[in-house]
C-alpha cells in the first residue's frame, strides 16, 4: 500500500511538475504553429527528465541527501553558487508565472477580478503549505491534476490525422521557418526538463525518507510519472494542431487552451480543463516554491523539509514565505503570465547545464554512491543528454531574439 501511495510523488511531479504552465503554453503553441511535427521533441524531453530524475532520486535514496546538498559537497562552492543563483532566478520567474496561471484559471471559473484572485491564491498557498502535510499536498494536487486527462479525450474527439501524428514522432527538420521550428523545439525541451522538477523530485524523495530499498520505487516514479506527463503534453500538442492550426489561431492566452477542450466536449470539457489547469499549475506553484526554498536551505546547510514543522526549520519556512511575497510583487505588476512563462522557460534552458552537469557528476561518483553509482546505460544516456543540453543552452537566447520570442 505504501508503495502505491509512494507513486503519488511521481504523479505530482508529472502533472504538477511536468505539465506546468510552460508545457501548456509551449505544447499548444507548437501544435498551433507546426501541427504534429514537433511530437518527437516531447519524447526526447520526457526521456531526458526521466534519466536525470532517476539519478536524483537514486542519489537521495542512497545518501539521504537532496541534489543541492550533494552538489555543494562534491562540486565546490563556486559551481554550486552559480547553480543556486541561476536556479533561484528561474524558479522565481516560473513561480510568478504559475501563480498568474492559477489566478487566470480561477478568474475563468468564477469571473472574479484577476488581482483579487492573485492575492487569494498567494494567501491560499501560504495557508495550505503551512497546515498541510507533504503527503496531502501530493495527493490533492496530483489527483486534482488528473482532470487534465480531458485534453487526451479532446485530442481524440477532434479527429486528428493519425498518420500525420505518427510521422511527428520521427525526428526531422521543418522545410520552412527553420528558426521558429528550432525555437519551439528548444522551448519544448526546456519546458520538459525545467530544473525545478529535479530539485523538487530529489528533495521529495528525502522528505519521503527513501532508502536504497526504494530505488525500484524511484525508477517506477520517474518512468510512470513522466510518461503520464509526456502523454498529456502530446495530447495538448494534438489539440493545438487539430483545432487551432486548422482555424488559424495562435494561442496567446491560458483561456485559449481551455477552449481546446470546450470545442469538442462542451461545458463539461471546459470545466474539467479549467479545474485540471488550476490543479496542474497550482501543483507546479507548490513544486516551484518548495524547490526555491529547498535549494537555498540545502546550499546554506539549514534545517529544511515539510516533515518538520516551520518552527523546526524556521529559515526554510521563511524562504518559501519570502518567495511567495516576491512572486506576488511580480504578478501584481500586471505582467502577462504567458509571456513570463516563455521567458522563464528559455532562461531555464540557458541555465540547464548548471543543474544537470553536477547531477551527472554526483550520480557517477563511486565514493559517494558506492555500488549504486550510474551504470553504463545511465552514463551513456546522461552524456548524450548533456550534449543536447549544451547545444540548446547555447542557442536558446539567440533564437529567442531572432524569432522575437516565437512571434517571428
Amino acid at each position: 500500500m505504501n508503495k502505491v501511495l509512494g507513486l503519488a510523488l511521481g504523479i505530482l511531479a508529472a502533472i504538477g511538475g511536468f505539465v506546468d504552465i510552460g508545457d501548456l503554453v509551449f505544447n499548444v503553441a507548437a501544435g498551433a504553429t507546426f501541427g504534429y511535427q514537433l511530437m518527437w521533441v516531447v519524447v526526447v524531453g520526457v526521456i531526458g527528465i526521466m534519466v536525470y530524475s532517476e539519478m536524483c532520486g537514486r542519489v537521495a535514496a542512497v545518501s539521504g541527501k537532496a541534489v543541492f546538498d550533494a552538489v555543494r559537497e562534491r562540486v565546490g562552492f563556486k559551481a554550486a553558487l552559480g547553480a543556486l543563483i541561476s536556479s533561484e532566478i528561474v524558479n522565481l520567474m516560473t513561480l510568478a508565472a504559475e501563480i498568474g496561471g492559477v489566478a487566470i484559471s480561477l478568474q475563468l471559473l468564477s469571473g472574479l477580478p484577476y488581482r483579487w484572485l492573485i492575492v487569494l491564491a498567494i494567501a491560499g498557498f501560504a495557508i495550505v503549505i503551512w497546515v498541510t502535510s507533504f503527503e496531502w499536498l501530493e495527493r490533492v494536487f496530483g489527483y486534482g491534476g488528473l482532470c487534465m486527462l480531458v485534453f487526451a479525450v479532446a485530442a481524440v474527439k477532434l479527429g486528428p490525422d493519425w498518420a500525420k501524428v505518427g510521422k511527428g514522432f520521427i525526428p526531422h527538420v521543418a522545410h520552412n521557418n527553420k528558426l521558429l521550428y528550432a525555437y519551439f523545439a528548444i522551448g519544448l525541451l526546456g519546458a520538459a526538463m525545467t530544473p525545478y522538477e529535479v530539485y523538487f523530485y530529489s528533495s521529495g524523495g528525502v522528505e519521503d525518507r527513501w532508502s536504497p530499498k526504494d530505488i525500484g520505487l524511484n525508477r517506477a516514479n520517474a518512468i510512470l510519472g513522466y510518461t503520464l506527463g509526456g502523454f498529456l503534453s502530446l495530447a495538448l500538442m494534438i489539440v493545438g494542431g487539430a483545432l487551432f492550426l486548422v482555424h488559424g489561431i495562435s494561442p496567446e492566452h491560458l483561456g485559449t487552451i481551455a477552449l481546446g477542450a470546450e470545442q469538442p466536449l462542451g461545458q463539461v470539457g471546459l470545466l474539467l480543463a479549467l479545474v485540471g489547469i488550476l490543479f496542474a499549475v497550482g501543483g507546479a506553484s507548490i513544486d516551484t516554491v518548495f524547490s526555491g526554498a529547498y535549494n537555498l536551505a540545502q546550499f546554506c546547510g539549514w534545517e529544511w523539509g515539510r516533515y518538520r514543522h516551520p518552527r523546526g526549520a524556521p529559515r526554510f519556512a521563511l524562504t518559501w514565505v519570502v518567495l511567495l511575497v516576491l512572486a506576488l510583487g511580480i504578478v501584481m505588476t500586471g505582467v502577462d503570465p504567458v509571456i513570463l512563462t516563455e521567458y522563464a522557460v528559455i532562461f531555464s534552458v540557458a541555465a540547464l547545464p548548471l543543474t544537470y552537469v553536477p547531477i551527472l557528476l554526483v550520480a557517477n561518483d563511486k565514493a559517494y554512491m558506492g555500488s549504486y553509482r550510474n551504470g553504463r546505460l545511465a552514463n551513456v544516456l546522461g552524456l548524450v543528454y548533456l550534449v543536447v543540453i549544451m547545444i540548446v543552452a547555447l542557442t536558446a537566447i539567440p533564437l529567442m531574439v531572432l524569432t522575437n520570442a516565437g512571434q517571428n
Binding site: 469571473g111 488559424g248 495562435s250 494561442p251 496567446e252 492566452h253 477552449l259 470545466l271 537566447i397 529567442m400
Partner: protein, 134 residues
C-alpha cells in the same frame, strides 16, 4: 563557470529581446504579423461565439475570454493608429487600425452578452467573415 564575454552576450541578447516589443516604425513585415494576429483573434472569438450560440460554454468563461481578446485587439488598434509607418503602407496601417477597433467592438458585444445565444450567433458570423476563418 561563465566568462565575461558570455555575460556580455547574455546582456546584449536580453536587451535586444526586451526591445523587440510593439514599438518602432511599422514596416511590411510588422503589418503582416499584426494582420495575422487580428485574424487569429477573430477566429478564436468566432469559436467562442459558436459555443455561446449553442449553450456549450459558461457565462464566466465566455465573458472573461471575450474580454481578453477585446483588450488584445484594442491594444493593436491603438498601436496601429499611432505608431509611425512607412509612407508606402501608411494608409493600409491606418485601415488595419480601424479593422482592429471594429473587431474590439464586436468582441465587446460578446463580453456584454456572454449567455445570449442570438448575440453569440451574430458575433460568430461577423467574426468568421472578418477573420476569414474556416
Amino acid at each position: 563557470m561563465t566568462s565575461r564575454p558570455a555575460h556580455g552576450l547574455v546582456l546584449v541578447s536580453l536587451t535586444l529581446a526586451f526591445s523587440g516589443c510593439n514599438g518602432g516604425t511599422v514596416d511590411r513585415h510588422a503589418l503582416t504579423n499584426d494582420a495575422s494576429t487580428l485574424d487569429s483573434i477573430a477566429c478564436e472569438g468566432a469559436l467562442l461565439a459558436h459555443d455561446v450560440a449553442r449553450g456549450r460554454t459558461t457565462t464566466y468563461f465566455a465573458r472573461e475570454q471575450a474580454e481578453e481578446l477585446r483588450i488584445q485587439s484594442s491594444n493593436l488598434a491603438d498601436a496601429l493608429s499611432k505608431r509611425p509607418a512607412l509612407a508606402a503602407i501608411e494608409q493600409k496601417v491606418r485601415l488595419k487600425a480601424k479593422d482592429a477597433a471594429a473587431l474590439a467592438a464586436t468582441l465587446q458585444r460578446l463580453h456584454d452578452h456572454p449567455s445570449d445565444r442570438a448575440v453569440g450567433a451574430a458575433v460568430e458570423r461577423s467574426l468568421k467573415k472578418r477573420g476569414g476563418c474556416p
